[in-house]
Symmetry: C2
């Protein structure tokens, strides 16, 4: 629990990963859900020039929706958001494409608002190995330099889509705690993207955060996953790594046409279509479970987590306070 300047308890609600087809409608939903902060994915495979176009689009979002959102740069903006009844938007990249092969671009993208960057998105990058590669050689020469620079400027290393050795390397090399912003433990559901107990223990013991994902491909029984099952998994995860290292990174990808998930999976690297976590028959975005159609599902999580036996304070930790504390350490 956190005290504000009047010594009253403040609880923050944070979704630490969304990639929606951004609109006023979605910003309103996030407000309705009471989200003080959202870490939003702004690019996947875009290079630095393409990022600039996305930033322009976000500038428009901020102008047109200034009653609902603003650009978050540090944990102080989460406090400000709470006070003003708005949502602070923190920028993140799901691949390192915008920094290209130039270490100096890391400082540049930080200046432009980037606070989280995955070292890889499924495939091998210049920095590390993605979880869809056959072999994992770990963090590369450039990756080691990039991690140092990200530590220096204050960009969190996000390994949600990375392979295991690369993630363990990143935990070891990084002088600041890293994050897995959106994934679940594989003991619950063996998706390629979900994480082993050993990895989660390393993450937590170094002060890192796991954002539990609500994306159906990461859930036991997919779209039919029950709230009870999700909350049981959360309780078991807390037993293994401690409740303080768990948050939510819903991975909500709502209101997108299916062409977007195709592009996320394929980028421009293959001439034949790849299906990633989907399949030829189920190639589109999966349907969200009915208890988490959008961020308003945080209310159901609150109920479910209490029901499974978490104390009020622990529920508040998981739904936002842990991420708030993690943000305090970024800079």
């Amino acid at each position: 629990m956190i005290l504000d300047d009047k010594n009253t308890f403040m609880n923050y609600k944070i979704d630490n990963l969304q990639y929606c087809n951004w609109s006023r409608k979605i910003f309103k939903i996030n407000r309705e859900a009471g989200l003080d902060a959202v870490h939003v994915t702004i690019v996947y495979h875009e290079d630095f020039d393409e990022l600039q176009k996305v930033l322009n689009m976000w500038n428009n979002h901020f102008k047109e929706n200034s009653d609902l959102i603003f650009l978050g740069k540090s944990y102080l903006d989460i406090e400000k958001a709470k006070k003003d009844g708005k949502t602070a938007i923190f920028f993140g990249f799901q691949n390192c494409s915008p920094v290209e092969d130039d270490i100096k671009l890391i400082e540049k993208v930080h200046e432009q608002g980037c606070r989280f960057m995955q070292l890889t998105y499924n495939n091998q990058s210049l920095l590390a190995t993605g979880c869809y590669e056959k072999n994992d050689s770990g963090v590369t020469n450039f990756g080691r330099e990039a991690i140092k620079e990200m530590n220096r400027v204050g960009i969190v290393i996000d390994m949600s889509h990375s392979a295991e050795k690369s993630t363990l390397d990143a935990i070891e090399i990084s002088e600041k705690p890293i994050a897995i912003t959106h994934a679940n433990p594989s003991f619950w559901h063996k998706a390629i993207r979900n994480k082993s107990e050993d990895l989660l223990k390393s993450l937590a013991s170094s002060g890192g955060m796991l954002g539990l994902s609500l994306y159906p491909h990461h859930l036991k029984n997919g779209s039919k996953c029950t709230l009870d099952s999700f909350c049981e998994m959360t309780a078991r995860t807390a037993e293994i790594i401690g409740v303080k290292n768990i948050g939510i990174g819903s991975d909500l990808c709502i209101e997108h046409p299916n062409s977007v998930v195709e592009w996320m999976r394929n980028g421009t690297w293959a001439k034949i279509k790849k299906y990633g976590e989907g399949s030829k028959k189920k190639s589109g975005f999966p349907i969200q479970p009915d208890w988490f159609r959008d961020a308003r599902g945080f209310k159901n999580l609150q109920t479910g987590l209490k029901k499974i036996g978490f104390k009020n304070e622990e529920v508040n930790d998981i739904l936002g306070n842990n991420w708030y504390n993690f943000y305090k350490g970024i800079n």
Copy 2:
């Protein structure tokens, strides 16, 4: 030996790797050396847009030196060069940076003249692992797609600066023979960049070519390497992999300021200087051995190879005919 249309024997002289500070002076030296073709490195870390600037520079070279050089696109241009008393210039990339993360750029760079592309230059790339990385995960997902596309359009896969598993993967995946355009066997000199016997045997048994390097860091005793020692190594290599799979890729980097070798090694990926094959004390370009200061050293190679016991025909094979035959298979 090769017959021309009058049934006389034609011998081609080819240096299959140079990266010089290009000028009329160097084009003249290459003519003096009797080179019918040179595979020239035109980029290291440049992306697609930067490549366009380099291509403009080469267009000027071709205009201003049309009596000495022209752009080579297939083996027919080697024959034309011989007939016209000129040197056909074949473009190559030492890294895959110009194709960025876009498989469609492979066809594009082929249209622009590219005939050789390394999958990596020392560090990890999006396609494979370089020889300076700690671990080698082999050819990546994107790498597999890129090799198929390079085979299709007719760009040779060059693994001179790649790590061993990546090279073995490339040999296996590629449907056409690949090349190591500039390196030596490590049994002779244990440079990181030199190649194991096992790798060279795989290369040769798949029809691939090894271009022996004259760059001092790849030579036994560096700049003091003797012609006899180099020719003994050539003879031993021919015993192991056969004389038909051996050519020359001198790796001549002449007339450059030392800032160029610094850039080759560091690109834009590190904030602190890396010395690659050099060292802090010997950070610049090494001095060529006195019997191979420039391409006119081909004459010394001819003498040395005969002295060591190669037949005339074998000497001609090594000094160019083997590469000529390899070029016949590119398209």
